[in-house]
Subunit: 462 residues, 2 copies
């Protein structure tokens, strides 16, 4: 079905040469150049409306190709054109911004920073739109297609919510198609159905007014480091469950059907442990599989901990303070704003006599999101992916993303349901050296997009 593969290759090669690292202010001109390049490519593809939207940070790109049918549904594609830093550069086999083609066991790969996250995922939509028009013989797509490709996702999307609010009317849509994820394996058509949310917290415990000499005071006054260890040890029970009262109250339980569907996702735990995880054992909430633990269950994680003397040698003190940074991954229908009060109450109740506790939870956080497995739009997505992989919609598996992005902002500000269509693979080394994309996955992504616009065009979602 696909023509114009050479165009895709040429486009990606040019775009991936632009080091659009949003986290490093020194690369701000490159991020702007990346936005300009994408705008030009969208115009070349035929989008009649293409605009660069500035923000107080990096610019986003907006494009729109209206359907000729006035009542056609509107789909908004979300992606990002900024990329992760490349540290450490010495671990890259090929220079990160010189895209290099490598023949791998599953087909040709393209190695570069951003190859899949997220330039590859955005680029397949250009090819997909051409394929859609060619296959349907139309001049305009069967749905009005909008794209919003931001430039700060890898920096936490600090201005994204404001951008959505500012352009709410232009962005109005019936469905959001998030293209920043992937599938379970090269030969396994699958659709992401949920992303976890996030709430951060910092705990400070204070004991003596100053660091005390442990010879004179040790064993007779409370040590904040001991108190912190006891507190954090008590954050999980012996079943690996988070002990904050109320933490699980709003968690949508996994239905038997969802668990059955998740269990069909091929997952080689030993290979996973040996891969980027490089861990010696699995661990987690009793009664759940690793995929369920990372995708469908909330967690509490200590991200950092410090206090007392941490230099060379030894200093025999009872320190004045102890600190920990925590993050909580949330699942539907937990709310990030509930975590602060839950944690604060629990710390107050569990801190020993003589220790003063302070719990800081930054405002915001990220809400979890989940797709309705039985919605008409989800049906269209499954049919589109099935066709792209030459299989039945019922063979398309459901997966869940453990991480958190600005997707919840899209739901909140635009009020439209989410679909996820991405061409990444768990083995693509995103955010790591030697990021790659499997080119046949991009072709599948483009085909699925082409089918999706046709499938959605046959519906009336309003």
């Amino acid at each position: 079905m696909l023509d114009h593969l050479d165009d895709l290759h040429a486009d990606l090669d040019a775009w991936l040469r632009i080091p659009s690292i949003s986290a490093d202010p020194a690369y701000a001109p490159e991020v702007a150049r990346s936005a300009a390049w994408l705008a030009e490519a969208l115009r070349r593809t035929g989008f009649p409306v293409v605009e660069i939207w500035p923000t107080p940070g990096a610019p986003a790109v907006f494009a729109e190709w209206p359907s000729a049918e006035a009542d056609a549904p509107i789909a908004l594609v979300y992606g990002h054109h900024d990329v992760q830093p490349v540290d450490p550069p010495e671990l890259w086999v090929h220079p990160p911004f010189e895209p290099t083609r490598v023949d791998g066991p599953d087909g040709p790969e393209l190695h570069a920073r951003g190859a899949i996250d997220d330039k590859g995922n955005v680029a397949f939509h250009l090819l997909g739109m051409r394929a859609h028009l060619a296959a349907t013989g139309r001049d305009t797509p069967a749905v009005t297609v909008k794209l919003l490709i931001e430039g700060e996702e890898e920096s936490g999307s600090p201005h994204f919510a404001a951008l959505l609010e500012q352009h709410k009317d232009r962005l109005a849509c019936d469905v959001v198609v998030v293209s920043d994820t992937g599938m379970a394996a090269p030969d396994v058509p699958s659709a992401v159905t949920a992303m976890r949310g996030l709430a951060d917290a910092e705990i400070t415990l204070r004991g003596p007014a100053v660091d005390l000499h442990s010879g004179s005071f040790g064993g007779a006054v409370p040590n904040p480091l001991h108190a912190l260890a006891e507190l954090l040890a008590a954050l999980h029970d012996d079943q690996g469950r988070v002990t904050l009262p109320g933490f699980y109250d709003k968690v949508r339980p996994l239905s038997d059907r969802e668990r059955e569907l998740m269990s069909r996702v091929p997952f080689d735990e030993q290979a996973w442990l040996a891969g980027p995880a490089a861990s010696r054992a699995t661990y987690g909430e009793a009664g759940f599989s690793t995929l369920e633990r990372t995708g469908a269950r909330p967690t509490a994680e200590v991200n950092g901990m410090w206090g007392g003397y941490t230099g060379p040698g030894h200093k025999t003190i009872v320190p004045a303070e102890a600190h920990a940074k925590l993050s909580f991954r949330l699942v539907a229908d937990q709310r990030p704003e509930d975590v602060g009060p839950q944690l604060r109450a629990w710390v107050e109740a569990n801190v020993p006599a003589g220790i003063e506790a302070e719990v800081h939870t930054p405002p915001g956080g990220v809400a979890p999101c989940a797709s309705d497995l039985d919605s008409p739009a989800m049906g269209a997505l499954l049919r589109a992916i099935g066709q792209a992989f030459d299989t039945e919609p019922g063979d398309v598996l459901f997966t869940r993303e453990g991480g958190s992005g600005p997707e919840a902002d899209l739901v909140e500000h635009l009020g439209a349901p989410l679909l996820f269509l991405g061409a990444g693979l768990p083995t693509d080394r995103i955010h790591s050296p030697n990021e790659r994309v499997l080119l046949p996955m991009l072709y599948r992504g483009a085909e699925a997009a082409a089918h999706l616009w046709r499938e959605l065009g046959a519906m009336r979602l309003r």
Copy 2:
């Protein structure tokens, strides 16, 4: 009994003006000047043998005044002529190296760094020796008195053991009199009977090979910070006892008599908490008082802890490593070299699956030491202190020091029992700004020394 009080005042004034801070290499010439000053003062007092003993660090001062009786016991006085740094200088009411006399509620005080720790404690021996000779009408003391005043105590006495070994023959003695401690209160004659020992350790826990993204991996792989918190929380049981198997095996239990004697030491717990401890509550091993906890019971203390992300903001990682520095205060007859194997075995047994543990215990440590309450030398000390305070030997209370110094080295290298005779008070602010000495306590110390030489001289300890 005392003449020559003006000499003591003049001597202290001159000596305390020398900033002999051993921890700061910039002050090395001052530490040398302090040694030279002390040697000259000892010669002036009449000691026929006075030598400065160099070390790879700061010099020590050795002096000897042989008794005319060939079979008289030999007493070795231990002290130090270096002082603590003065940070923060802005908290000093009077400049730390301009000794200033202040009239306090308990009598005249002298404020200066080193006023009691340890120049005051050493200086009273000069006066004590003169008083001893004057009171007994002798030309030579009733015991052979040796002094070893080191210059690196506040820097951990790194060369002290080697110095003892090198001069073993010159230092031979029947009893060591440590003058680097104090008494319970101005009106409370007391003798220190024990010092705690020390063993240091560092624990490193390793989980994933690199810091992992908590969105993708959180809740499914073991987090070394969680494992460290669980480990350190389990280091004490709910009675505040250290849980290392075998840790208490060699602890000499407190006898009812010792507990009764300790309970007679006046101790205002609320004042103690409000003082340098500045703590909000006491804490510790169930069944023991605060004085017992700090003086007579071993402890495990976490001195530092770190791992993961500790910078500003948040980084949602499962960190690769977690670290803790620990120190153990030991009491007779525990041995510092036992702690490493005990800790290592316990960590191995308690670390969860998927976490690798490394326990580092530096060689050495400090052995605890304790005096025999019923030895003849202790009897002499109690009588001497009793006479200095115009009271009965049975009214002299026993106290214990929570900290650790080079005293155990003296026992080990010289094979002589320890007595403690010091004129400090818990309120003297040693190691802190505004260190002071209560001058009447120095006079009592000198009197006690004078009596002690006479009392010991009446014995034949060999």
